[in-house]
Structure formats: C-alpha cells, structure tokens
C-alpha cells in the first residue's frame, strides 16, 4: 500500500533470511552486535530522544542487568532467559533509586551526574562489591540460554533470539511513542514549564521514562551476558555509554528507524574499516560535531505523528 510499509517488509524478509542466505558466522556475529546495540539505543532513545534527559551513564543500567543475570544464573542455576524480567527489574529499581533525587537537574548537570553514576557502578564492579561481581575479572561460566530444550550457542541461533527481542523492543517503543505517554515526554523535551502548566506531571513522567529505559537496558544486559558467557567491568565503561548515546544522536533522537540506522553505522560500519579501528572514535567525535552543525536532528529525524481527521498541511502560514 504505501512506500514505507513496502520498505519495512522487504527489510524484514531480507534479515529474516540472512542466516540462511549467508551462513557466514562472522557477519552474523556482527549483526548480533548491531541488534544488541539497536536494543540499547532504543532504550536510551526513550530517555534522551523523547524526554530530552541527558543520560551519559546508560552503561550502568546495562551492567546492572548483565550482572544480575550472570550472578543469579551462575550461583543458582536459574535458566538465563527466565532472568530477563528479573534483570530488567533490578536495573529499573536501581535507576529509580538513582534518578529520583537527580532527575530534576537540568541539561549539563544531569549529564555530569549520570557520568558519575556510571563511573561509580564500574568502580563498584571492579572492587568486587558485596563479593559478588568478581572484581576486574568479572564473572565467567554463564550458562547458555535454552529455548524448548534447544541450547542456544551458535551465532545464527543468537541471531534469531536477539533479533526477536529487537522486534519486541521496536513494537513496545512504537506503541508507547504513539500514546499519550510518548506525547507527554515530547512536551517535556520541548518545554518543561509549559508541559507542567498544561497539566502534565513532569516529575513523574521523567522518572518513568528513565526507569523504563533502564529496565530495557537491563534486559539487553541479560542477552549480552548470555551471548558472551563472560562479563567484566570493562564492557560497561564510559565509552560504552558514549557509543549508545552517539547511536541515538547521530541516527536521529526520537526516531526508531534513526536509532536502528545509527546502530548499523556505528557498530556495523567499523567492521568494514578494520584497518582504521583505532580511529573509530575519532570519526565518531568528528561526526557528532559536524552532525550538530549541519543536521542536528540526526540522519533520520522522527516523523510527526499522524492524527485521523486533521486537515492536511497546505504550505506555510503567515
């Protein structure tokens, strides 16, 4: 029927068949990383892109989810996929405790505090907090996930597991975005005082957005732990947060296709330029500056929501 639906169907069909058409485990592995970062990007997008809250410590919630899943699965032999909601809840509760007192801070202040929280979490993990996290070596021997007695261990199996979760993620955030919740967050991003003055409980929505983003990052952490079977604090440092942040900003803050494109470019593209691997961050940095100057809404900016019956836009207005 319309062009977008056609493009989406073609892309879906292509990626659904990808492991069958190209049984190259390396490229399937790259796509697995892209899916994972797309999930992380979409979770941060809810906080940064929609609500305009500067969270530069998203890796902290990712880490809390990954470690919760890793600790519970290695110590109590709980199947790791059962831990998805548990790890999400742990990350969400942590975010709730952290964000409640700081969420009212503005722009740069919030940025610096979230960086601080991210660092505190990483340092805590490195110092083997509560004797649970294994210090800088991390946790290993995380059991492989199982679905209907099938043990997930090969890249193509993870491809469908993580890809499937990405589809759920897209659906979830798309529905939220199109609801009064999504609108409320956008009002807050545009003008918080006006939003509050129009009857929106800004404090509650900011907190809710933050916690939902964190819950989703925590679930992504579970998938990461299951995929790697080893996790260590090094995977959750500041640069991880910056990478997720850059995916959102460069792809298009507030735009689901934008964030997915961002994940493709920032995670996938460097695989083509392995000789320049060291310069990867250099390009990201330059791209962020240039993007803000020339196209500050990102590569694929969000489209306006459509409402049934609203008169068609006809040119400008004086």
């Amino acid at each position: 029927m319309n062009k977008n639906a056609f493009i989406i169907s073609v892309l879906l069909a292509f990626f659904a068949c990808f492991p069958v058409l190209f049984s190259n485990p390396y490229w399937i592995g790259v796509l697995n990383d892209i899916w994972l970062y797309a999930i992380l990007g979409l979770s941060l997008n809810w906080i940064v892109g929609h609500t305009g809250l500067f969270n530069l410590g998203h890796a902290a919630y990712y880490a809390v989810g990954a470690y919760t899943a890793a600790i519970l699965s290695t110590r109590y032999n709980i199947p790791i996929l059962w831990l998805l909601p548990v790890a999400g809840a742990a990350a969400g509760l942590f975010a709730l405790a952290v964000a409640r007192p700081i969420i009212h801070l503005r722009g740069d202040y919030l940025a610096i505090v979230t960086i601080g929280v991210g660092e505190i979490v990483r340092i805590a993990l490195e110092n083997d907090i509560f004797g649970l996290t294994g210090g800088s070596n991390g946790i290993f021997g995380i059991p492989r996930p199982e679905i209907f007695d099938m043990r997930i261990r090969r890249p193509w199996q993870f491809y469908y597991l993580i890809g499937g979760f990405l589809l759920i993620t897209i659906w979830f955030f798309y529905r939220l975005e199109q609801s009064r919740f999504g609108r409320a967050l956008n009002y807050i991003k545009e003008d918080e005082t006006a939003a509050e003055g129009s009857g929106i409980n800004t404090a509650w929505y900011k907190l809710a957005a933050f916690v939902i983003g964190a819950v989703w990052a925590g679930m992504a952490g579970t998938l990461f732990a299951a995929k790697m079977t080893i996790i260590s604090p090094g995977s959750f440092n500041f640069w991880e947060s910056v990478l997720i942040f850059a995916i959102v900003i460069l792809g298009g803050a507030g735009s689901i296709p934008g964030v997915i494109l961002g994940a493709f470019l920032l995670v996938g593209l460097p695989e083509f330029f392995r000789n320049f691997a060291d310069a990867r961050m250099l390009f990201f940095g330059a791209a962020m500056v240039l993007m803000m100057i020339f196209r500050n809404k990102g590569l694929l900016p969000p489209l306006a929501r459509k409402y049934a019956g609203v008169p068609r836009v006809k040119g400008g207005d004086a």
Partner: protein, 258 residues
C-alpha cells in the same frame, strides 16, 4: 461563595517583597482583570495561583480547596488553566498536539493499555481528538491543526495557547497578557473570544496592559502596585480612583521611555 479567593498572600524573593498581603476574590462566571504598572507583581500573583511559586504566607482557595503547595499540573487538574506571558508553546510539535497536551490530564490510559491498544484507550484517544477539534474550531485554528506551532503568526500562537488551556476543561482560565504583540484587529477578536469563553461558563482572570481591552472585557478589576492591592471594583469606579490614576500616570512615563 467565590470560585477563587486569595487571602493575605505574601511572596518574597530574597529581600524583595513581590506580593504583599494581597487579598481578592473571583466569583464564578466573572471576567476579572488584574492590572497595575510594570513590575507591580501581577505575574507573580498568577504564578502563585498556578503553583509555579508557593506563597510564603496567606491562603489561596479554589472552590474551597487550598492550592497552596500543590504542583502546577495538580492545579490544572483541579480546574485552573493558564497561558504564559512569553508564549510557551511546544514549537516543534503540531498545533493539534499542542492542544492534546491540555487534554492529557483528563485522560487515564496507562502504559499497558497503550501497548496493547485496548478499546478503552482507543476510545479515549478519539475523544481527546474530538476535544482538540472543538477547541481549535472555537479559536478558529482547526484549519492549521496539522502545521507545526512555530509556523503560526504571533497572534495565532497566543490563540493556540488559549486553546491548549481550554482543552483541559478548566473552570477558571488565567490569561497572562493575551493581547501582547497583537494588532488592533486581533485584539478586537480577542475581546470577542474572551466573551465567548465567559459565555461557556468559564471564569476568566486576565492580566493585561491594553486598558481599552480590560475596560471593555472585565466586570471587575483588581489593581496592584508594588505588590500591594491599591484598588478593587467595577472598571468605571477603578478608572476614577485617584490612587490608580497616580500609579498609571507614573507608569505611562516609564512606558514611553521604553
């Protein structure tokens, strides 16, 4: 009983007393003007009523309930809507979405309902859209509903703010200098609109510099100067009050100088 009443409300910033023991009341159905020279504390009074500031002492009652210490969104929920002196629209969002912001506090669907799009949630969205259409038609902006708010002219942006406020189904609407930046034609239309709002049974509290508008629109005026109420009454009474004349002659010179 009056709809809104302020009793000896005091607000200080640092050492400066912006509002000093101001009392007045607004009866249901009235159009009341709050006037006074620049810097008299009018907007501060508004911000006290809408919960953006909390009074240091005194009491503000709306329908017999105290608004003191309540957050602005809660006060909107109670039935007081406002516009801002410097236009504060959601500039990058469409006109209809700006109005839907006002509908928000009358909606209930939660995250789960939005996720699976329950029939109730869909009905609610549809109803909100109908409300938005109704208020936009009321201010004559429905044709522009799909445009972004920033593309509207200044005068229309002011109307959109009023529409957003009306969408929350208020019993009292507070307009902070709605005629600011409007030409004569638009001001005349605004006067008509204020009367229409009043006819719907919504009480209006208005801050305005345009004395012509205030005199014609309002049934009652409250005059403040230096944070203190100096007069209150019907427009023609207030107009002849020597203290008001004195306050305004002073301020006229200031305004000329600006």
């Amino acid at each position: 009983m009056s709809l809104l009443s302020l009793e000896k409300v005091v607000k200080t910033f640092g050492g400066l007393t912006a509002v000093n023991r101001v009392s007045f009341s607004v009866d249901a159905g009235d159009v009341v003007g709050l006037i006074g020279p620049n810097g008299a504390g009018k907007t501060t009074v508004f911000n006290l009523i809408t919960g953006n500031y909390t009074p240091d002492s005194g009491e503000i009652l709306f329908e017999g309930r105290s608004v003191k210490g309540k957050k602005p969104h809660k006060i909107v929920d109670m039935g007081i809507a406002r516009t801002f002196q410097s236009i504060r629209l959601f500039q990058n969002m469409s006109v209809v979405e700006n109005v839907l912001a006002g509908c928000h506090c009358r909606m209930k669907s939660g995250i789960f309902a939005s996720m699976i799009r329950t029939p109730g949630q869909r009905r609610e969205e549809k109803k909100a859209l109908e409300t938005a259409k109704e208020v936009l038609e009321f201010v004559d902006l429905w044709e522009s509903a799909g445009l972004s708010a920033s593309s509207l002219s200044y005068g229309k942006q002011r109307l959109l703010e009023i529409a957003r406020a009306l969408a929350s189904r208020p019993r009292l609407i507070i307009l902070d200098e709605p005629a600011g930046g409007m030409n004569d034609q638009e001001t005349a239309e605004l006067l008509h609109l204020i009367r229409e709002i009043s006819r719907k049974g919504i009480t209006v509290l208005l801050i305005e510099h345009d004395m012509g508008l205030v005199m014609r629109a309002c049934e009652k005026l409250v005059v403040i100067e230096y944070g203190t109420k100096i007069a209150e009454g019907r427009p023609e009474e207030v107009k002849n009050n020597p203290r008001v004349i004195e306050a305004y002659l002073g301020s006229d010179e200031e305004e000329d100088a600006c």
